[in-house]
Structures are given as structure tokens and as C-alpha cells.
Symmetry: C2
Subunit: 318 residues, 2 copies
């Protein structure tokens, strides 16, 4: 179990946030968002997806965004890739990390990637070979999506998730993450699955990706934090969602998660005021979309701890 007093907030506004919104944000505006995220202190940003542009035209400018992001010192630039073709584009782009989603739900895997989970594992082996053959330093993370249930299939067995985690590590994934793609997870389930995954993957279990569809987003974040996870995917204003999760609300809200961490004395390196300014900008630019979040409205408590404060975090793991 990690007991570090700092947490990495990985922003995915430009990818998960925009993939489920019909309108296309102009590249110049995305670059403004990117700069604002960076200026607010974020140092890991998922900037797009290398998917066919006819499938997600909103993200067709991903190579341009990666190129610009690579100019920002100290930024880890990540992209989502659905397959080998996308992985080759990611290698070419110079991204630091590619995230390949693997649906633990067979039904979701077929709907989203048009292959079974085990066929996706074979793809990952080929992607590993391609990265190594290219002499690329791009890291490979497999995001275990629908790890907590699926709107198409219903229950997803933890044993199946763990089997697939083992398989993707075996074929060369550098990292794995667990994703509640459709907002089905509860804190007890999160605690149990993260603990079991840590037992298999150790430090290679790197990130938790939650949606707040049913209001349990931050409760699930806390459950994962208690197992030792120190990296969380977020979207500004809580935008985002999966095309295969009807009625889904978005990713865990970036501002609220940063507030949660700071309130407990965990450092994120993120300036909440900068993030809140970006939120205002995004909600104006995307007027009419669904937004989530609370801290923007209520403001900080008088008692707010400074972001660099440290707290006896070990108490969380009692």
C-alpha cells in the first residue's frame, strides 16, 4: 500500500470529455484549454484519441494537439488508442503514453472495439512489439474498462477482470488501470477489486477512472485511494461519458476531486483557482451541455488546508 501524501490528477477533458459531445471544439480552442490546464499545474494530460476521424470527428486533430502539448516542459502527454493502427499513430506523434481500453465485458468489447477481450489481448501483444520495434519510449497502459459492470452485459466478474489484467501484463503492458466506464461501481466493490488487482499488478496498477453517473464518483475515489491508488482521471466540469452508457453523466469532476484531495491535506500540484477559471470558460464555450460539480458554486471552506499541507494519511488505511 502506498501512503504517499500526494496524488496525480490526470486530466482527460480533451479526450473523454469531448468524445461524447456532438459539437467539435476548434483546435485553437483546445490548445487554449490545454495551456490553461498546464498553467493550473496539471502535468499528465490525455489530449485525444487516435481513432478513425469518421468515428469521432471531434478528435480528428489529435496529432496536432499532441505536437503542441509536447512543447510544454515536464508534461506527460497521453492519448487513447483503440488498436494497432492507433498505436502506430501514437508512436509517430511522440506521445509519452498510450492508453488502450480493453473491455472486461465481452458485450461491451464487441460493441466498442468489435473484438472479444482475448482478441484485444492479442492486439496488445502486437502493439508491444510495434513499440519495441520502433525503439519508442511511449509507455503502454491498458485501461480495463467496464471493470465494475456493463450497461449491455450487466455484471462483469472480478475473476474475469483479474484474468485479463494478468494477461495484458504478461504480453507487455507497462501499466494497467481500472475504469468504471458506465458508472456502476460502488465503494465496496472498488475496494475489493483494487486490492485484488494490486496483489497481481503491484505498482503497475497506476490509475483509477470513475464516472459520476450515479453520484458515487468521489465515494469510489476515496475507496480506491484507501487501497493505495494515487492517480485519478478527471474531466473539468465533469463532462464526458461513454457512447454506450445511455443517460450517463460524466467523468469525476476535476475541481471537486482536487478540492477533496486538498481538504485532506493531499498535494496535487494543481491550483484550484486556475481550474475553476477554466471551468467557467468551458461551460460558456459548451453552453447547453451537461456539467457537474459542487465546489465552483459553494467556494472553499474557511478552514481549507493549503495545497502543500501534509496530513497523517496513514489514518485512512486503519
Amino acid at each position: 500500500m502506498k501512503t504517499s501524501n500526494s496524488v496525480v490528477v490526470r486530466d482527460t477533458t480533451l479526450r473523454d470529455g469531448l468524445q461524447n459531445i456532438a459539437r467539435t471544439v476548434p483546435t485553437a480552442n483546445k490548445l487554449q484549454w490545454l495551456q490553461a490546464l498546464y498553467d493550473a499545474g496539471l502535468r499528465e494530460i490525455e489530449v485525444g484519441s487516435f481513432v478513425p476521424p469518421q468515428r469521432l470527428p471531434q478528435l480528428a486533430d489529435t496529432a496536432q494537439i499532441v505536437a503542441a502539448a509536447k512543447q510544454l516542459p515536464g508534461l506527460q502527454v497521453s492519448v487513447l488508442v483503440p488498436n494497432l493502427k492507433g498505436a502506430l499513430a501514437a508512436i509517430d506523434s511522440g506521445a509519452d503514453l498510450m492508453v488502450l481500453p480493453l473491455s472486461a465485458s465481452h458485450a461491451h468489447s464487441l460493441a466498442n472495439l468489435r473484438k472479444t477481450p482475448d482478441q484485444a489481448v492479442e492486439d496488445i501483444a502486437r502493439i508491444r512489439e510495434a513499440i519495441d520495434a520502433a525503439g519508442s519510449s511511449c509507455q503502454l497502459e491498458v485501461g480495463m474498462s467496464t471493470a465494475f459492470g456493463c450497461t449491455l452485459q450487466g455484471a462483469v466478474e472480478s475473476d474475469e477482470v483479474l484474468r485479463l489484467v494478468e494477461a495484458v501484463l504478461h504480453v507487455g503492458a507497462d501499466h494497467v488501470s481500472l475504469a468504471d466506464t458506465v458508472g456502476y461501481a460502488n465503494p465496496l466493490q472498488v475496494k475489493q477489486l483494487f486490492e485484488r488487482t494490486f496483489a497481481i499488478a503491484g505498482e503497475r496498477l497506476s490509475c483509477a477512472h470513475f464516472h459520476d453517473t450515479r453520484g458515487l464518483g468521489l465515494a469510489n475515489v476515496m475507496a480506491a485511494l484507501e487501497t493505495g491508488i494515487r492517480r485519478f482521471d478527471v474531466c473539468v466540469a465533469g463532462i464526458g461519458g461513454c457512447p454506450h452508457a445511455p443517460g450517463a453523466s460524466g467523468n469525476v469532476n476535476a475541481e471537486d476531486l482536487v478540492f477533496l484531495m486538498h481538504s485532506m491535506g493531499l498535494a496535487t500540484g494543481v491550483a484550484l483557482d486556475g481550474l475553476l477559471q477554466l471551468r467557467t470558460h468551458i461551460t460558456q464555450e459548451l453552453a447547453g451541455e451537461n456539467f457537474q460539480g459542487a465546489i465552483w458554486r459553494a467556494g472553499l471552506p474557511k478552514t481549507m488546508l493549503p495545497t502543500d499541507a501534509t496530513a497523517p494519511l496513514a489514518a485512512l488505511a486503519d
Copy 2:
């Protein structure tokens, strides 16, 4: 630490929910809400406050509501009382439980009750005497409000909260509860203060009262649950709030809390569909007010556990 697989959901829609809403809901409508709550399976309901009607005209019919509520078999009927006069009214009404708020924040205590916390403790001693002198079976709960911080004073020291808990137990409170009146609490603070309070109060620490002002409501519920608390105050549609907490959103949402508990296999005895019907009714009747909640929009996951399922709850306390 309790490891019971059931949780008591105590509804306070008719009290905390309505006290911060300017309009007055007619008595007949309140009785419909009460019946709907009862029909949905709630067996502990706070139905009003015995405060001066000129201060809270919305709650001036509390005695009538108590009388009606007392007709519902097996229902524990509670009321809020600010002082001895209110306590005498509660005894006369036949309520089963009176909840007396004691602000651990001196500034909030003076603003809300016009007395210091220690003067409030003296009141509680007099109320205890009055209950006993009347031969009443009405239980006395002291709600330690602003236990996690205060919009007026800022920080509230845990040592001061604990000193006051000891004092009110010493003068005869049957139960104490901890309330985050203004939405300042974070999960680490909740875990620590509930643990320390359990060490003093044992089973007499009976309830957790959270507001979702800054989005941490359910994360705080989980933190308290892990310390052994098995009773939570809620409001339907997440209405409610403290007149001294500007910008505050309401109490923890009843529907989302019930969903959270059921998702982990904890029984509440509450039928979520009945609660959701009442939510629809209330949001129509109170159109224009602020409402919170997520599960009403997203609907239950396919994987939803039945309400009577049991889970290895001990895992939560690992």
C-alpha cells in the same frame, strides 16, 4: 465497531429540508409526504421543529404533524427543539425523540441559539430534568452541529467537540450525533472525529448528519460508515440547508444514499422506487428550488443488488 449489514435512513425532509425554503408547504401536503415516506419504508422521520412560529413559519404546524405521524405503526417520530420551551412542547406532542442542536462553534452557537455552547449544555441538563419530571419516554439526542467547521468561525477544534460530547452525555443526553452543518467536512476528518467520539460515547453516538454543499456528502457518509455509524440523516431531493451557511446546498440526498447502501448490499428497509416517486412529487411541488441527486436521472444499474442482500461488510473496515 458495528458491523451490522443494515443501516437506518432517518428522513429530515420535513424539518431540515423545509426550514431553509421560504414558502410554506400546506399541512395537508406535508401529511402526504409523510405518508409517502412511511409507505416507502422509512421508520425514523424528523417531522418538524418546535421553534417560535415567527422565526420559522414553515414549521408552525409541527404539533399537528407529530400527532398524525404518531398514528403510523412502528414509526419513530422525532422533532428538533432549540431550547427548554421547545422541549416542553415536544414532550406534550408525544414525539418519540427530540434532537437538540448544540453548536460546537461559539460563533455559530451565538448566531443560531443566542447562547454559548456551555450555556446550551446547561439547557440540556434542564431539559433532561423536564423529561424525567414529566415521566416522558421521549429520548433526548444532542446534535453536535458545526462539528467539522463553521462559516462564521472557521475551524472548530475536535478537542472542543469532544469536550462538549462528554458534557452533554454527563448531563443526560441519551444520544449524540455529529453534524456537518455547513458542508465543511472531509472524509479524513470524518473518520478521525467519529472514531474519537465513539471512544467517548460508544453506542450513544447514534447518527451522522452531512450536507452535500461541496460535493463530498457521500464520501463523508462512507467515511462515517467505516467507523461503525449505522444511521444517517437525509432529505428527499437533497433539499435543505442552514440559514447561516450562504450558498449551501442541501442535506445528503435520500435517494442516492439509499442507492449507495443497497449497491453495497446493506439493507435499509427503504423501497427506492417509492422514494423516487416522492422525489418527483416534491420537485414538482417545490418547483424553482435547488434539488440535488443523481440516481433519479441515471436509473439503477443492471447489476443492482436486492435490498435484502448481505455483503461481507467487514471488508470495509480493513
